[in-house]
């Protein structure tokens, strides 16, 4: 049980495949992670061409976290995250075209070009943002969990935030209420080790983030966030715990972002060797592929097919994002208020 892992000082949950691996399931996870990776690389390229501007935070390196965890979600569950949100949107099944077109600021974007990278929403897919103020999405996610409980709809909220946000005061205000009222919420701390340029060690008096709920009686678990199977396995246990009405849970996902904090960050605060070692030894996509090859799942041709299929989806998204027109000037004045 994850709770036991926490009690033992957070020895990380590792991949321990039991029985025969489910080929379809693994291919699905692989495909999802690859879609996020290729989408983000394309976004980076469009940024380089000046087609995307402003803040653009890429999820490259962290794909296993949302992919593995969202594989444990039901169609009642809601998702909320901070500004590094493209991967979460893709994981909830939002349309890559609408996401990319929002990045280019076009009318075909999820927010009609008015939100940008950090502000997209889909009530249909139960994705509630996309929030740019570090920490603010944690009380919001707790409110979504409140609504799940109030309505008794059986859903829970996946509330993703980073190691940086984990030091915001309002996170603990939310923890307190969530535990007090036994709200169905999983606080997913994506610990990519750097809050912009400040390492976890330089910003946090205690670095075992899975223990941050202890003062409120919230159990926690640390998970290898570079291993999608480990994430999914831990996610299955934690979602079962939360769905059973036991209240919130903290999951610390130990992960790594390959790119800078945002597109304009040269990432001088960490060594090239450090980045290279994660890419070479811990890459979530390479890791899963190696596992599948070892277990005779998928062959060269089927991986090529997936590559091609993903490339096509991403290229279509990029084309749509460039051909969709800018919002009409009249859009400046709409959506400020709902007309009663």
């Amino acid at each position: 049980m994850p709770a036991e892992a926490a009690a033992k000082g957070g020895s990380e949950a590792k991949t321990q495949p039991e029985g025969k691996p489910d080929a379809q399931e693994l291919l699905k996870l692989y495909r999802q992670m690859l879609l996020i990776r290729r989408f983000e690389e394309k976004a980076g390229q469009l940024y380089g061409m000046g087609l995307i501007a402003g803040f653009c935070h890429l999820y490259i390196g962290q794909e296993a976290v949302v992919t593995g965890l969202h594989a444990c979600a039901t169609d009642k569950d809601s998702v909320i995250t901070t500004y590094r949100d493209h991967g979460h949107m893709l994981a909830t099944g939002m349309d890559p075209k609408g996401i990319m077109a929002e990045l280019t600021g076009r009318i075909g974007g999820y927010s009609r070009g008015k939100g940008g990278s950090m502000h997209m929403f889909s009530v249909e897919k139960r994705f509630y943002g996309g929030h740019g103020i570090v920490g603010a999405s944690v009380p919001l996610g707790t409110g979504l969990a409140f609504a799940h409980k109030y309505r008794g709809d059986g859903g829970l909220n996946f509330c993703y935030f980073g190691d940086g946000a984990a030091n915001q005061g309002q996170v603990y205000e939310a923890f307190n209420m969530a535990s007090l009222w036994k709200l169905p919420i999983i606080y997913v701390i994506e610990n990519n080790r750097y809050a912009m340029g400040t390492s976890l060690q330089r910003a946090s008096a205690t670095t075992e983030l899975f223990r941050r709920g202890e003062a409120f009686g919230i159990p926690g678990v640390a998970v290898d966030g570079m291993d999608v199977q480990a994430v999914k396995k831990a996610g299955a246990e934690v979602t079962a715990h939360v769905r059973a009405g036991n209240g919130p849970y903290v999951m610390e996902m130990n992960t790594y972002r390959y790119r800078g904090h945002s597109m304009s960050d040269p990432a001088k605060y960490r060594s090239k060797e450090e980045v290279a070692s994660y890419r070479k030894e811990h890459d979530p996509i390479d890791g899963l592929r190696a596992f599948m090859e070892k277990n005779g799942i998928g062959d060269e041709a089927s991986f090529k097919d997936i590559d091609r299929e993903i490339k096509e989806i991403v290229n279509q998204a990029a084309e749509f994002a460039q051909s969709s027109p800018e919002p009409d000037p009249s859009e400046l004045w709409t959506d400020v208020l709902i007309e009663a």
Binding site: G48, S111, G115, I133, Y150, G169, M177
Partner: protein, 458 residues
Amino acid sequence: MPIQILMPALSPTMTEGKLAKWAKNEGDKIASGDVLCEIETDKATMEVEAVDEGTLGRILVKDGTENVAVNSPIALLLTEGEDASALDAITESPVKVDKEPAMSPGAAPASTPAPKELPAAAAPPVEEYSGPTAKMTVREALRDAMAEEMRRDSEVILLGEEVAQYQGAYKVSQGLLDEFGDKRVIDTPITEMGFAGLGVGAAMAGMKPIVEFMTFNFAMQAIDQIINSAAKTLYMAGGKMGASIVFRGPNGAASRVAAQHSQCYASWYAHCPGLKVVSPWSGTDAKGLMKAAIRDPNPVIMLENELLYGQHFEVPTDPEFVIPIGRAKIERPGKDVTITAFSRMVGVALEAAKALEADGIDAEVINLRSLRPLDVEAIVGSVKKTNRIVSVEEGWPLAGIGSEIAALMMEHAFDWLDAPVTRVCGADVPMPYAANLEKLALPQPEGIVEAAKSVCYR
């Protein structure tokens, strides 16, 4: 056709940079995500990663080249099945990037001058209520409004500090816990930012929370959630998702509670698009605006006043009585000078108007009721009749509600003014504790009388 790899921009403002070093050689196999080269500007050095896979066919810009224009080709990538002969087919003309898509015809300039047209009123005129009434306090009127709306819609909940078992720090929620239970009337910990954010999250899920702040002074701890999360979301979502939520509680000076507990936040919230802001004076205002706020699909700030809670008024009892947000009310018609006020200052202005009778000045007192949207039509209409206006508020003068009214009169009533627009505001100091100083810091009837006489040149 080989793929052209372009010089990327590190930031939206970069136009050129140095190609510091290639990490790959011609003939190398390239996979998506591989580092291709390093580029430098005066601000930063960054690695360029490959998006497409293939073989690096030709390097067009050598190591150490300065001033390479963004979006010019720096290398050619051979894709699967292509050999070097494909390279010669490429002409080295820069790829045209359509960075600025054509604007739609009739595009407006980036900055739009302040509209000269009178803004359309946000709601139809308020019809005179002729139904049954009962004498009650403002406190009871607010409670009845919430109770009626909670009976009407099971998704309406009330949360805040001491709202349930304690029956409200100022007893506004008296009886609600008994009627609706602790699932809908919820005592929160003292954690304004947390429960304001939780309320907004529930509203994003489609619920209709009423968030009570014990006073609006404490809402400063939560103002990020009110503005950034509640007010801006509908716009940022392109209309796809908003927050139907009410933030309410006492605002402005109470009595002898000093600076941290005595502040008017009217101009703070009225400044922000995406919010509606109402501020009731009478029991009728309190009930009708509270009900309108709860029914409104947008975030609404309801600025009440502790000193009014115990005052008695005749209040409509019809459960369908609602005051449309965005309409002011003429509390006292007059022909010589317009006095605008909101919340407790309406009562003070009415006292002043009575005193002005002795001087033969017939003042028209407008109860603004709503500060965003502001009923400009009503104010301008009154000024066209009186040709003079005095604005009254408890808040500080700089960038206050009175400043806005003065600007609006310049824009919409300039030709009708016979005297400068005049403001009566709270003194520009933090609220003092001492009884005599506190009185000096707040607008009094005498000050309003003096201002009204001065614009009447008396």
